[in-house]
């Protein structure tokens, strides 16, 4: 037979358990808006029951067995996968948008229009080759053309430099997060070994892993001791309580490459090959942006170099206003080694009469109103050219090329537009998907204030009832102690 006091013990356990549960509720409410927090629940269980001989078992009360957090590892995995893809497309979208803004197409001040004005100025010169204002106008238009080229090139260079710098910043972030995860691993293992569940620390670690997913693609491995390893590009980024840091260095002075600090000899494998089907991440997005910038710059300079070559070639055939020809004709555009750009030949800048507008006709006339060479140059805009992958050339006689200078440029603008459009669309799609998943995770792990309030009342009433039980037992004890026995 149990002692009458054992009932009191049950009640005390009940009050303790309900209070603990109320504490958990309070913690939940306090962290209703904390990033990465997952709601916790006090899991109550009965204590070891007491067996009455012949009468079966009577319970001995309640105990909070554990405080568990509502979290689904698979949802975490899904969210992270989509975050990584989102990072890839967002990075691309942002950079491609910037490039689009640089080119300012379509508008009246874009390169397309400047190039058009340039050819129109030659056309104008073919009509009035002897007019000095017309020659000066051509000079100014040519200057504008080359300034625009230089401006675009330097803007693209800046963008690439920014991209390289961003890669360095991202690497610092990765290192930072990896170190924090390693530290958390250490603390979590210690607490887990004690037999407790470090819910809040695990939340913080999950949040960090989420943040890491914004930057890179990785694999998470959970260890039985509670720690997690993070594997990045085939190597451990975090193992137990150690973080293996990355470093970003400018290789051959041009571009940033990423290395493991412990293996500085070979760059971290960043998949730049589009055909490689794998999950993509923001870091890879940055590398792909770098490739895009290079490609656009290359295409653009193929165009400009070909233009310069075609103009210079034709210009060299002509006669200037004084009737000079051959070696006396300077090339129209010249490469400026110090500024690293094309510009109009200094000789022509100083004396516009050096522009070779005339071309010897069948009778050998090269008078001052001969604008035949200017006309030939103006016609270059419509010449169908061959593209051999390195430059645009006039096809051999009798053959017709596939592209003109202007369509070549338009094609590359169009390709840029398509890529940018693709990334914008992917960001939208990815965003919708991510919202779905985050909502599902929030649905499981998020704190509902209504629910917490309801729980609070539940615990409050249970606590009240237990307290009332104390009074009851007290009066029972009063009966036994004060009113029974010998007077």
């Amino acid at each position: 037979m149990r002692s009458i006091f054992s009932g009191l013990n049950t009640v005390v356990l009940a009050m303790q358990a309900q209070r603990k549960a109320a504490d958990v509720t309070a913690h939940n409410i306090a962290n209703a808006h904390t990033d990465g927090f997952s709601r916790q629940r006090a899991v109550m269980a009965t204590t070891q029951p007491f067996s009455y001989a012949g009468a079966g078992q009577v319970g001995t009360g309640v105990i909070v067995k554990e405080i568990e957090r509502a979290r689904d590892g698979f949802l975490d995995y899904q969210v992270r996968c989509e975050k990584q893809l989102m990072g890839y497309w967002e990075t691309r979208r942002d950079a491609l948008e910037q490039i689009e803004i640089l080119f300012m197409e379509p508008s009246e001040t874009s390169f397309n229009s400047v190039m058009s004005s340039f050819f129109d100025a030659w056309q104008e010169l073919s009509i009035s080759p002897e007019s000095s204002p017309v020659r000066t106008n051509l000079l100014e238009t040519s200057n504008t053309l080359m300034n625009t080229v230089d401006h675009l090139n330097s803007q693209l260079d800046n963008l690439k430099m920014d991209t390289n710098e961003t890669i360095r910043i991202k690497v610092n972030e990765i290192n930072n997060i990896a170190t924090q995860i390693a530290n958390l691993n250490q603390q979590i293992v210690r607490i887990t070994n004690r037999g407790d569940s470090p819910n809040d620390l695990m939340d913080r670690r999950d949040l960090l892993i989420d943040q890491l997913a914004d930057i890179i693609d990785f694999t998470v491995v959970s260890n039985p001791n509670g720690s997690t390893n993070i594997i990045f590009r085939g190597r451990d980024l975090v193992r137990e309580n150690t973080a293996y840091e990355l470093t970003a260095e400018y290789s051959n002075g041009a571009d940033v490459e990423i290395y493991w600090k412990k293996h500085p000899d070979q760059p971290v494998d960043i998949y730049r090959d589009e055909s490689y089907t794998r999950r993509r991440d923001s870091l890879e997005g940055l590398f792909s942006v770098r490739v895009e910038i290079d490609k656009i710059k290359e295409d653009f300079n193929i165009l400009v170099d070909s233009l310069v070559e075609l103009i210079n070639e034709q210009h060299g055939q002509g006669y200037d206003l004084e009737g000079n020809s051959g070696d006396d004709i300077e090339s129209f555009f010249e490469w400026d080694d110090t500024l690293n750009r094309w510009k109009v030949n200094e000789v022509i800048i100083n004396d516009v009469s050096k522009i070779a507008a005339a071309l010897e006709d069948t009778e050998g006339n090269i008078g001052i109103s001969n604008g035949l060479n200017a006309l030939e140059i103006a016609k270059l805009r419509n010449v169908r050219l061959n593209f051999d992958g390195e430059k645009l050339e006039i096809p051999p006689a009798g053959e017709s090329g596939h592209t003109t200078l202007e369509t070549f440029y338009r094609d590359s603008v169009s390709a840029l537009g398509v890529k940018s459009q693709e990334s914008t669309r992917m960001v939208e799609n990815q965003g919708a998907l991510l919202t779905q998943l985050v909502n599902r995770r929030e649905s499981l792990s998020g704190v509902s204030l209504d629910e917490e309030m309801a729980n609070m009342i539940l615990f409050l009433h249970a606590y009240d009832a237990a307290a009332r039980m104390v009074t009851t037992i007290d009066s029972m004890l009063d009966t036994v102690i004060n009113r029974m026995g010998v007077r």
Partner: protein, 302 residues
């Protein structure tokens, strides 16, 4: 599905963002008047707009070229008309002077008038437009026809340059008539048919060779008149071609401007309506957001 307060708040915020982004898009279109502001808005349209813009700008240059050609040819034409008038008068004088009844004095007056006409012819043949001599070939800066020597001879200082001006894509036109077009091969010598006829007439009037006047002189004058008529019809044909090119240029401009506008410009009414719709959606999401975020069980517990 379990719904939490955070979810509600986040959804409201997200929807507001989406709505605002759409409003911004319409607002951009309304304030710029352009439906395409970046290649990614519509890559295909962008390329077409760029092409059309170039064509329009080039078309403008061709229009200038056509105008320039037209004024060049108009000057040429009126000069040729002047030459024609002079030659007609010269022909009358030649017929008059061939009459055997005239005295030497009478012939001297005719010579005076022919000399006068030669001066006129010189002036007309040296016509210029903005300082460029129209009959000088490429040598437009130098006076093309100059009198030299004694007996007087008219020398052509220009060259055989033919100005090729582009009036439409790939269409060039030879706009000028140079001094060589006035010349004719005569026993290996290049001879200016107009001045040659006048100088010959003058000489024969002075010497009183009436049979030469009625025969060879009239023949030379008629040849010159035929030449000027041929040149005039050539110029007339070119001017016709230019008129046609002008109207084609203009039509093309209208067509392309329309086409570009349909790709590039917004439909004001449509965008305005879309904007209004978006605005009311935004307002609706604001007010529902305000309502759904506010209450919780706390509000109903005592």
């Amino acid at each position: 599905m379990r719904v939490t307060n955070n979810m509600l708040a986040r959804n409201v915020l997200q929807n507001l963002q989406v709505n605002l982004a759409r409003m911004q898009k319409y607002q951009n279109q309304l304030s710029s008047g352009r439906s395409v502001s970046r290649p990614s808005d519509n890559p295909l349209s962008t390329v077409r707009i760029m092409g059309l813009t170039t064509r329009l700008e080039t078309g403008e240059q061709y229009r200038k070229n056509i105008d320039m050609s037209l004024s060049w040819l108009t000057t040429t034409e009126s000069a040729l008309a002047g030459i024609n008038n002079i030659m007609q008068r010269v022909r009358e004088l030649a017929i008059y002077g061939a009459s055997g009844t005239l005295s030497a004095d009478d012939r001297a007056t005719i010579v005076d008038e022919v000399k006068q006409l030669r001066g006129n012819l010189m002036q007309v043949a040296n016509s210029d437009i903005e300082g460029r001599y129209v009959f000088a070939g490429f040598n437009t800066a130098d006076v093309p026809f100059v009198e030299e020597g004694d007996p007087v001879e008219v020398v052509y200082k220009g060259d055989g340059g033919k100005m090729q001006w582009e009036i439409a894509p790939g269409v060039t036109m030879e706009v000028n008539i140079n001094g060589n077009n006035f010349e004719e091969d005569e026993t290996g010598d290049k001879i200016n048919v107009f001045f040659d006829a006048l100088l010959f007439l003058e000489e024969k009037l002075r010497s009183g060779e009436t049979e030469k006047l009625s025969g060879e002189a009239i023949e030379k004058i008629d040849k010159a008149i035929t030449r000027v008529l041929n040149l005039r019809s050539e110029v007339g044909a070119k001017m016709n071609r230019l008129e046609m090119a002008t109207s084609r240029n203009f039509e093309e401009k209208i067509n392309m401007t329309g086409l570009r506008s349909s790709l590039y410009d917004i439909d004001m009414a449509e965008i305005l309506i879309n904007y209004r719709i978006q605005e009311s959606v935004y307002h609706a999401s604001l007010s529902t957001g305000a309502r759904s975020i506010q209450p919780s069980l706390v509000d109903f517990l005592r």
